[in-house]
């Protein structure tokens, strides 16, 4: 159990390796930890948003209230998730806010559609909850994309490779296909949640390594160097 001083310890953003460090110990916060934190935040948000769907479906709150509340909660999740992926509030750029705003315009239009469907009796509680789940999945997808774009460039003579890792979920065919591609040059695979039929349900992550450029071909199409041959590898 951490003590109060640990609870409030600060963090640094190491701009060379683009990772968080614990200010007290200097230790790097792993990508897995950061993505885990992101997923935890999304799960918590989903619980709060879902709690608001019930009174709307049951006619205990107005459409306006539901829209207002849900829009604000979704917006906050976008801001926080992208800030986590970017390296903190101070690394957020006008372009990041612009990108979030673009996404929100689309999400808000979807939300209006859901509100109308609920009023018209075309959307059950379960369907509304699923739509909220998908909306938050799209927040995750943007955060994963930002985190990926935030990776430092590979040093001279090195190549960055990425591979899809399947998360704790039922996997769609697209994600399985990307997983089976093994290591690929950075940028080849789409970010999790992008370009797959699972859309906002995606729980995948992208793993990333830097290898000597002369050895990169040994990795392509494999789960890892020397690991089992997956698809299309030599």
């Amino acid at each position: 159990m951490p003590g109060p001083t640990e609870w409030l310890r600060g963090y640094l953003w190491d701009k060379t390796i683009r990772r968080y460090r614990n200010a007290a110990t200097g230790r790097i916060v792993s990508r897995e930890k950061v993505i885990g934190l992101l997923d935890q935040s999304l799960a918590q948000r989903e619980g709060r948003i879902t709690k608001g769907v019930i009174p709307f479906v049951e006619g205990r709150c107005t459409r306006n209230e539901w829209v207002s509340r849900t829009q604000t909660l979704v917006k906050r999740e976008y801001l926080q998730s992208v800030a986590v992926a970017r390296g903190g509030w101070d690394r957020m750029t006008p372009a990041d806010y612009g990108r979030i705003g673009q996404r929100l315009r689309v999400e808000y239009a979807r939300l209006q559609g859901t509100a109308q469907d609920i009023v018209d009796g075309k959307c059950s509680l379960a369907q509304a909850e699923q739509r909220m789940h998908m909306a938050l999945g799209r927040v995750r997808a943007l955060a994963m994309d930002v985190e990926r774009a935030n990776q430092p460039p590979a040093p001279e003579g090195m190549t960055r490779l990425e591979r899809r890792l399947l998360g704790q979920a039922e996997h769609c065919d697209d994600c399985v296909n990307f997983y089976q591609m093994g290591w690929q040059p950075a940028g080849t695979l789409p970010s999790p949640g992008e370009g797959t039929i699972c859309n906002g349900n995606c729980k995948c992550t992208l793993d990333s390594i830097q290898v000597p450029s002369s050895e990169a071909l040994l990795y392509i199409g494999r789960a890892d160097k020397g690991g089992p041959l997956l698809a299309g590898g030599a």
Partner: protein, 87 residues
Amino acid sequence: MNRAEWAEQRIRFWVEQGDDLQDAQTWIRDVLARIPPGADPQTCVIPADAWEDEAGITDGDIADARAEWLALAPNEWKRLLDATEVD
């Protein structure tokens, strides 16, 4: 029921649902800001285009998101997003 009474009743409702008081005030304030004068907030439906400006990010939105992170993130991670940049 006038607007003030309606707002009070609705804020109380959301607080009873488990929302933070300040958040509940935000939801209701944003609704009332879009309801035409004289309209009944219980029945008036705000058209979708009246919410469009909400997609923009203001300094207030960022401040609210920061405050919420500090309030809800696990203690160990509360200060993560205030990380200082180092080489």
